[in-house]
């Protein structure tokens, strides 16, 4: 299907709802089209070109069996199958309800994929943790199995009230050929805490573009880690705004890519209030002819004095054909701040390899050990044991794929 035909379908889908916002969102997206490298925000990821081989459609409603994609221990849980909420598989706690998508649409000229989601989103959940309560752990699981080249566009809204807290573990798995265009809005009230752990392990033929829009009020804390190892092309784009003083964000990520995978992690941390801290550690491990991208901007507004911003991104190239492109950015308008970023790119240190092997450790194990050590710092915010075991398992599976 041509791009125009797809856009027409988006228009049609947007207009069939009662919500005029959807039609407007479709127009905003149509005016921009799929992002290309000409968009500075997409400097290293040409989504239009990547989608050329796709015959994107909007979803129909068959329900595959995704039982194998759900972690056994997960409960309470919210399950999405092929981008739709599945009530029979889910075990909802009282603070989660199915989201009325008509309230979700919100076009954004600067974020075309958000506009597209706003035009066609037809499912999602709303999480409302009330103030002062610890809501424990919630799993949000997305299983997809479709050969129909659907574009799935769920929209989720997460709100944690003042002083409340939640641990959210997201697991995204799939089989087949499809595109996921996910938008997650997160609002953390005064003193709220959200621990957000996300594993993106989509089908190797899929495209996953996820946009997280996070707002932190005074004293709120957002502890996040995302691991990308699936998808032919993935982009995880997080916009975190520190809008109240003394808020604190820890936004870590890692990607393990092989074959011809393309993984893009793009973050914008906007300091809009004084005395906030942001820390980021982003690691890419690239095998085969995979291409990793990291773009990370720290913005400090004029009023955001006493900002403490730190960002480190590191890439390990495991093969001669792998490529990493990184663009760490500082944009600073306040003077009394401490901001820094660092980037390193290289191969596994041959001396470390030799040291391990001279102690009798086989080469493959030595590599695995050093790569695991390389990832360790990024995993630091994952304090939840269940989440950690999910990530460890995903990393193990990655070794077993024989990419090394």
């Amino acid at each position: 299907m041509s791009e125009t035909a797809f856009l027409d379908r988006v228009d049609f889908a947007a207009r069939t709802g009662e919500d005029p916002n959807r039609g407007r969102a479709a127009e905003v997206f149509r005016a921009h089209g799929w992002p290309t490298r000409a968009d500075e925000a997409w400097h290293y990821t040409d989504l239009r070109a990547s989608l050329r081989s796709f015959d994107l459609t909007l979803p129909t409603h068959d329900a595959p069996d995704i039982g194998g994609m759900i972690p056994r221990t997960a409960t309470p849980k919210v399950i999405f199958v092929n981008g739709r909420f599945d009530e029979s598989l889910s075990a909802l706690p009282h603070f989660v309800r199915r989201f009325d998508h008509r309230a979700a649409a919100r076009a954004d000229r600067a974020l075309p994929l958000v506009s597209l989601n706003a035009a066609v989103a037809n499912d999602g959940i709303q999480i409302d943790v009330s103030g002062g309560t610890d809501a424990g752990t919630l799993f949000l699981i997305s299983g997809t199995d479709t050969p129909s080249q659907d574009m799935l566009a769920p929209f989720h809204r997460i709100a944690v009230g003042a002083g409340g807290s939640l641990t959210l573990i997201e697991v995204i798995r799939g089989a087949g050929r499809y595109m996921h265009n996910v938008v997650v809005e997160i609002a953390l009230a005064e003193g709220a805490v959200l621990r957000h752990y996300r594993l993106q392990d989509e089908s190797i033929d899929a495209v996953n573009v996820t946009t997280a829009l996070v707002d932190l009020r005074e004293g709120a804390r957002y502890e996040a880690f995302t691991l990308n190892c699936g998808a032919k092309l993935s982009r995880y784009e997080a916009h975190v705004t520190l809008s109240g003083p003394n808020a604190d964000v820890h936004l870590n990520a890692a990607q393990l890519l092989a074959g011809t995978q393309h993984g893009d992690i793009t973050t914008v941390v906007a300091h809009r209030a004084p005395h906030c801290a942001s820390r980021q550690t982003v690691k890419s491990v690239l095998a085969g002819s995979a291409r990793g991208v990291f773009q990370g901007r720290i913005e400090v507004a004029q009023q955001a004095q006493k900002t403490d911003g730190y960002q480190m991104n590191q890439a390990l190239l495991l093969s001669p054909d792998a490529e990493i492109d990184t663009k760490p950015e500082l944009e600073i308008f306040a003077d009394d701040v401490k901001c820094s970023h660092g980037a390193t790119i290289g191969a596994i240190d041959p001396e470390q390899m030799f040291y391990l092997r001279s102690r009798g450790i086989p080469e493959a194990d030595a590599r695995a050990m050093l790569i695991r050590a390389f990832l360790d710092e990024a995993l630091e915010p994952v304090t939840d044991e269940e989440a950690r075991s999910i990530f460890e398992a995903a990393i193990d599976v990655w070794w077993q794929k024989g990419v090394l």
């Binding site: 500075e40 400097h43 004029q302 004095q305 890439a315 190239l317 495991l318 093969s319 001669p320 054909d321 792998a322 490529e323 990493i324 492109d325 990184t326 663009k327 760490p328 950015e329 500082l330 944009e331 600073i332 308008f333 306040a334 003077d335 009394d336 701040v337 401490k338 901001c339 820094s340 970023h341 660092g342 980037a343 390193t344 790119i345 290289g346 191969a347």
Partner: protein, 483 residues
């Protein structure tokens, strides 16, 4: 305690109040009519009595320029430039001087005033100077002594006449006319600039220097500089720039090309002090410059050092193309912006060959309402086995009305390459200021000292002659003279 206010005042003194090169010189000038067309390009070429190939080259560049768009990706804002409202050719009316004795005394006295004596006896020992006035080379000192060792140093117009084979071979070979909007414009209308050729195995016996002076009003400035270092040759080249204080903005779009062959080395230093505009942001030079060096030879080396304190807008990315195995590129930069100045400057290091190395040290200082951006690219291509890059970008903010930005692009396509990048942004620490003051330094001296310390890794790369000027520019008293 208004520490910040006082600090800002200090910086005011460093940059704005201190612009002592703002005078005008009365020289009879010849202008071509305003505006740009094929006819103007032909006229410039004819005035310079150029060979046919060069005219064709200019015309091709002009036609390419017509199809291009002014770049808009830099973090700079300015009103639209009306390219038809500029003069593209201005030259002193007198005949080109045959020797220093023929140079207009008015010009000599102007350069004296700038501290650039053109009289060889009074000249700085060991520095040969090419003086470029409104894009026309008006005098070159020490030509004879340089010629004895085979070094060619003079204006590029002269080189077109006397060494056409060299110019034809290398002109546009590093920065092609179509490279970008301003290089296309420059290629069409460049008026003059310096030409340097260092023959095989020769270490240039003295520092070479070009002193650029913009004087004429409403006149675009388009110099073209070409430096070639043959196998095993080496040269250190310095460039200084000043302009009168004027209310309107003035366009300066130069192109500099460097070529280093096997084991050759070129050190290119700039102290850029074009008029920055006044405290309200009126006037000042738009400095849109393309500088690039090609390390063509094995183990060749190109080193850029710049101290940028002038210009209303700076758009400049001195770069190195590392083509020769084991070649190395360096970029050392201090950019200080104040009032409403905007600087978007950095470098590109393109690693094409194995074992190439590059070092980038950038120090940005923002004060007033200015914006100061480091923008850089490090690209490691698949064949650059064992390539290394180290980048350090530091920004200092003085006052809370300015901006400091860091935009590095880092791309690696070779597993065995190693790239390291670090960037920091901060202000002058209160405890450092107090420590200095408790030892008796006034606050402004303390700021000067600390700013100078902040820039030290760059300043120490400058040749002595320029280090002094640069340090003065940064309000430094005796850093580097002891120890």
């Amino acid at each position: 305690m208004p520490a910040v206010t006082e600090t800002i005042e200090t910086i005011d003194r460093l940059t704005d109040g201190g612009y002592k090169y703002g005078f005008e010189t009365n020289i009879e000038m010849e202008f071509a009519p305003k505006g740009l067309s094929e006819d103007i390009v032909r006229l410039i070429s004819a005035k310079k009595d150029e060979p046919e190939w060069l005219l064709e080259w200019r015309l091709k560049s002009y036609r390419a320029w017509l199809t291009m768009q002014e770049p808009n990706w830099a973090r700079v804002r300015h009103p639209r430039i009306d390219y038809q409202d500029l003069y593209y050719y201005a030259a002193p009316k007198r005949e080109a001087p045959k020797s220093l004795a023929d140079v207009d005394p008015e010009l000599i006295s102007m350069y004296d005033k700038l501290g650039i004596p053109l009289n060889e006896r009074a000249a700085l020992a060991g520095v040969a100077v090419d003086a470029v006035f409104d894009s026309v080379s008006v005098a070159t000192t020490f030509r004879e002594s340089l010629a004895k060792v085979g070094v060619i140093f003079g204006s590029i117009s002269e080189a077109v006449r006397e060494h056409p084979e060299l110019v034809r071979k290398y002109l546009g070979s590093v920065v092609s006319p179509g490279d970008n909007y301003f290089s296309a414009l420059n290629s069409a209308v460049f008026s003059d600039g310096s030409f340097v050729y260092i023959p095989r195995g020769v270490r240039c016996p003295m520092e070479l220097s070009t002193y650029f002076r913009i004087n004429a009003r409403n006149t675009g400035q388009f110099e073209r500089t070409l430096i070639i270092a043959e196998e095993g040759a080496s040269v250190s080249y310095l460039e200084g720039c000043t302009a009168p204080m004027r209310d309107e903005n003035q366009l300066h779009a130069a192109v500099v090309e460097l070529v280093a062959l096997d084991e050759a080395s070129i050190k290119y230093s700039t102290v850029q002090n074009w008029y920055p505009g006044d405290a309200q942001g009126r006037g000042g030079i738009y400095n849109f410059v393309t500088k690039r060096g090609a390390c063509r030879g094995r183990k060749s080396k190109i080193s850029w050092t710049q101290v940028e304190t002038g210009s209303a807008i700076t758009w400049k990315y001195p770069s190195c193309i590392l083509q020769g195995e084991g070649s190395s590129g360096e970029f050392y930069s201090v950019a200080l912006t104040n009032n409403y100045q905007q600087a978007d400057t950095g470098t590109k290091m393109i690693h094409l060959a194995p074992n190439t190395t590059s070092t980038i040290i950038s120090k940005g200082i923002s004060a007033g309402h200015s914006n100061n951006t480091y923008r850089g690219l490090v690209r490691i291509m698949p064949k650059a086995h064992g390539a290394r890059n180290f980048t350090q970008c530091d920004s200092l903010l003085i006052g809370d009305q300015c901006g400091a930005h860091t935009v590095p692009y880092i791309e690696s396509r070779n597993q065995s390459a190693k790239v390291e990048h670090e960037a920091t942004t901060s202000k002058i620490a209160d405890d450092q200021l107090f420590y200095c003051r408790s030892r008796g330094l006034s606050e402004e001296d303390a700021v000067g000292l600390l700013v100078n310390g902040f820039c030290r890794d760059v300043l120490k790369e400058l040749p002595m002659e320029f280090a002094v000027e640069a340090q003065k520019l940064l309000a430094v008293s005796l850093e580097g003279s002891v120890g």
